[in-house]
């Protein structure tokens, strides 16, 4: 197996896609308003005619690049390029205002690289172990795995927990459109036969993640304020890296926070970076310097959000449950290639999975090199005009949604759900929980129906859900995740209040 993996990694075409993916991701991530999820969803049509290796390597590179790219605009113009870089603005932008943008960018690049590599190593070692365990799962366990994902659905919602749950419920409901997996009858098709096959996941992903962002940008009109020209200063980068190497605990702690947050399905990079930033403030004696341009603040945020990338792929590859919204798009890419992620992925496609994971780790090194030398060039691109960017994005969404099944109906569905997603977002319903609901729906329904049939055969329909050891563990995990979702919501309110207080003090 390892010979195949090595030869795939040495293939110049794969290397080209890896470098191109990382570079493209950095550029898209640096553009405020364009998220990593959107970048991945937009790139899906490029992968249709590709073989699985280069397709996944490129998408992995885009994911890594976009999460780092978000820090460039966060540091230079105080606008996070992606939601994952929210905490980077707290100290990154004050560093720029103090005339230290180079230091801030090098700090972000180095921390992102370390966090990303640690996340990749976790993916390499933890994911197969988890997949081995998941091979023992039966229908009741899969039902509870889906419930586990759903209990923390609310953390994907930026606002109210209740709205996150309603969004998740709506997603689950949408997943039931078409023929029932066990009962075999049509549901919610309203006599319209093309709906019997169900709603296509990739179409929904493209519509719900891209169109609302496009419409929000039309509403805001400008993508960014202005591009920036940066000059490279001699000796700065080396000095910053020396300083960072002397802080292994901060780097390690931030990366671990990112990895754990990523593994928990639903909690994304923004949660990871805020949690890590919060811990950095608590553990640092100079906590009063945070928010005023402290380098450690940038380290905490960036190491954590890039480590989260690897973490979010652990449940995807081992259980078939995406750990974050961009991982949901990667799941769509796997499905396009005819590969269903889940416990048997490691036994059915070991060459592909290990090629992807090793390439993922290499991509983090590539990202560091590109970030180190290329951040100042990307900074100049921040001012891409909306009138060029937005029609391009819409065209890509149309091509992408059509190419999956050559269906004009899918284009209409994509636009329809995209427009609905925009209005839902305006009233506080994030697309993340809806999409997670659509993904988890079939797992939950099949698990529920098969367990009921098994239970019936054993004499008690519901006992089977609560009497097996693994189901009990999953029930406990679901309860913990539900409580942690409540805690994160409360903490987030606290961070916002803290930021408001700090801004008021600054204004005073």
């Amino acid at each position: 197996m390892w010979e195949t993996v090595l030869s795939a990694l040495m293939d110049p075409v794969n290397a080209l896609f890896l470098v191109g993916g990382v570079a493209g991701g950095i550029v898209v991530g640096a553009l405020p308003g364009l998220t990593a999820t959107m970048a991945l969803a937009l790139m899906l049509p490029f992968t249709f005619s590709m073989s699985p290796e280069p397709a996944l390597i490129m998408l992995g590179g885009i994911y890594i690049g976009a999460i780092y790219g978000g820090s460039i605009s966060a540091i230079l113009i105080n606008t996070p390029g992606t939601p994952s870089s929210i905490a980077t603005t707290f100290d990154g932008y004050p560093m720029t205002r103090q005339g230290k943008p180079e230091q801030a960018l090098v700090t972000a690049a180095f921390s992102s690289g370390i966090g990303g590599v640690l996340g990749g190593l976790t993916l390499l070692f933890l994911s197969p172990a988890l997949a081995d365990l998941a091979l023992q799962f039966g229908p009741p366990e899969f039902f509870w795995v889906a419930i586990f994902g759903l209990t923390i659905i609310a953390t994907l919602s930026a606002g109210s927990l209740l709205k996150g749950m309603i969004g998740g419920c709506l997603g689950l409901m949408l997943s039931t459109v078409g023929i029932a997996p066990i009962g075999g009858e049509s549901r919610f098709t309203f006599g319209f036969s093309p709906l019997q096959g169900g709603l296509d996941l990739v179409v929904m992903l493209i519509g719900l993640f891209c169109i609302p962002e496009v419409l929000a940008m039309v509403d805001r009109k400008r993508v960014a304020k202005q591009g920036l020209a940066l000059k490279r200063e001699k000796g700065v980068a080396g000095g910053v890296i020396k300083k960072l190497v002397r802080q292994p605990l901060l780097l390690l702690r931030s990366s671990i926070v990112g990895i754990i947050t990523g593994i928990i399905p639903g909690a994304g990079g923004n949660i990871a970076s805020l949690l890590s930033y919060d811990l950095a403030v608590r553990f640092d004696k100079k906590h009063k310097d945070y928010g005023k341009g402290r380098m450690e603040g940038v380290v905490a945020s960036e190491a954590s959000n890039n480590a989260e990338v690897g973490g979010s792929l652990v449940p995807l590859l081992s259980l078939g449950i995406p750990g974050a919204a961009p991982a949901a798009v990667l799941m769509g890419a796997l499905l396009i290639q005819g590969i269903t992620p889940g416990p048997d992925l490691y036994t059915r496609y070991p060459d592909l999975v290990y090629t992807f994971i090793i390439a993922f780790i290499i991509a983090n090194f590539v990202m560091f090199v590109m970030a180190f030398y290329g951040a100042r060039y990307v900074a100049r691109m921040i001012d891409l005009p909306a009138d060029v960017l937005l029609p391009m994005i819409v065209m890509l969404t149309v091509i992408g949604s059509f190419a999956i099944r050559n269906s004009y109906l899918d284009v209409c569905m994509m636009l329809g759900f995209g427009i609905a997603g925009y209005f839902l977002k305006k009233v506080g319903f994030e697309p993340g929980p809806i999409v997670l609901g659509i993904i988890l729906g079939p797992i939950a329904e099949t698990g529920l129906a098969q367990s009921m049939l098994l239970g019936q055969a054993e004499g008690g329909v519901w006992q089977i859900f609560f009497t097996r050891p693994i189901t009990l563990v999953l029930i406990v995990l679901s309860l913990i995740s539900l409580l942690s979702a409540v805690y994160i919501q409360t903490s987030r309110a606290g961070w916002k209040a803290g930021r408001r207080d700090a801004e008021t003090c600054d204004a005073d």
Partner: protein
Amino acid sequence: MRRRLNREIGVSLFFLGIAVIAFIQVEGLNRMSAVFPRTLAVILLVLSGILLVQSLVRPPEKKKGETPLASSRILPFLLILVLYAVLIAGLGFLIATILFAGVGTWYLCDRNKIRAIIGSILLGILFYALFRFVFLVPFPGI
């Protein structure tokens, strides 16, 4: 405050409506086909009910910089999007895309006709050539 209150109540009623329709739709289906969507309909009904009560008892505060649900800037662009979808079926991807990119760019770049015309033709042809001949992706319409 009143507009916000109406918006929250409207959203709750919308989801209540979906839950009721879903519940009615699965009536008459066999047990295995109905159990999951029926359970979801009940959960959605309960959650929407809580949202309705919450929005009546404690209406949320208006957020800083909050824009109307459909601003005057977004509505024409929505219309352009819908027309694009319709035109794809009638005129094919290339012509519909050039028209969409032209009108879209014109609308977004403060009615600059020259920029819109040049930009749309270049973008349309570039995308068509790239996907049709390099990535071998099929196109909707003619």
